[in-house]
């Protein structure tokens, strides 16, 4: 199984490092940072959430695209925007998770392409909320990663240090 980006929401401390890292990694012209492909939200006082493209198997964005500009990269499994994009923005409207976006500074449609197999967000995530992993999680792990809540950044950091 190829690597995937896994999100463990309870570990997220809304530090926005992933956004920064993504922005820098995707910046075509130095000095003008790009819009990040990943976003973190504070859902409530206790919960943060990382919003990231799910790389759906039957992706809405792909289906609605009139010019086949969204193509899955067989190596990374991620759907990428290629140069056939004519900028109609249908994908932005179609994605139910809001993971397609338009970068009005660099005038292009953007989505997470897992940095061609080396996602900057996961690389720099200090808490392990974002992990680039190839291992398939057991049900128990998955449950734990998605459900376990923690509001204490230190405990998370500790956990990370233990690993």
């Amino acid at each position: 199984m190829s690597k995937r980006l896994y999100v463990t929401p309870y570990r997220c401390i809304d530090c926005k490092v992933c956004e920064q890292a993504c922005s820098l990694a995707k910046t075509p012209v130095p000095g003008i940072p790009a819009k990040p492909r990943v976003q973190t939200f504070k859902v409530d006082d206790q919960t943060n959430f990382v919003l990231l493209c799910l790389q759906c198997d039957e992706a809405s964005c792909q289906k609605v695209c009139p010019t086949d500009a969204l193509v899955r990269n067989p190596e990374t499994g991620a759907i990428e925007v290629n140069d056939r994009c004519i900028g109609c923005g249908f994908c932005v409207q179609a994605c139910p998770f809001g993971c397609m976006d338009y970068d009005d500074i660099h005038n292009e449609y953007i989505k997470c392409d897992v940095c061609k197999g080396d996602p900057a967000c996961a690389k720099y995530c200090p808490t392990g909320a974002l992990v680039w992993d190839e291992k398939a999680w057991t049900d128990q792990e998955a449950k734990e990663r998605t459900e376990k809540k923690s509001t204490d950044p230190f405990s998370i950091a500790l956990e990370m240090a233990k690993k």
């Binding site: 009139p66 004519i86 249908f90």
Partner: protein, 272 residues
Amino acid sequence: MSKTKTSKTVHLTIDGQNVEAPKGAMILDVTPGLGVEIPSLCAHPGLEPFGACRLCVVEIQKPGWDDWYKQLVTSCLFQVEEGLKVWTNSDEVRQNRKVVLDLLMARVPASDVIRDLGNQYGVTKTSYAEVDTEDTCIMCDICVRACHAIGRDAIASMSRGPDKYVDVPDKDACIGCLVCANLCPTNAIPFTANDNGKRRIWGKEFDLVTDERSGEVLGTTEYIEHVRKRAEDKGLLCPEDMKHESARVKRYGYAQKLSHVADVEEPIEEVK
């Protein structure tokens, strides 16, 4: 779109570089990344090749031809072949690009894009009679093809020959998506993207829909309706949810849903 999917590859040389390219690709498609620059105004990778501007001409030689014999072809329409030799910047190529730019400069003297491109090829002033026009349309048909691609067919090229022009004969078909204006190589389609919640293009005024939470402009009412319909036709993930104003609105809803927060303050359906 017209690229045929095939695993077979062919080998050719472009300006002396050995290139391996998928069979069925056009010469223009395989040049990116080679450090070879071929100017083009009417080609767009996402649209059917058209071959109107003739700026992307290159010289080719097929295996078996006499050494002196080369042919000028448009690279956006010419498929790569095994053993093909391509010259993208020979004297003949530059000469013909120069004449084409000279002609375009006479046609659209007001266009900066053409003027800049012309300067690159040594055309500072057209040698022909300037057509007295403020307009910068060069009839590349990109807008027509793009409008066809998104499924509206609002824009059509009318008449023929030098009288050819581009128009939207059926205003109802236009959804104000601005794709045409954004793709236009010479910025010939005037529009107002957002003027107090109104958008104007092709002589039609549209109401804009704004996302209440982020304040972002989502598009015109007609545009959102078109995407919703298209999404329904394609059988997308949540055609029901597409009836809401936009996916963007749902982003926040889903964010809440996915994070398994039990105490969502407002029900998702009501998020607008």
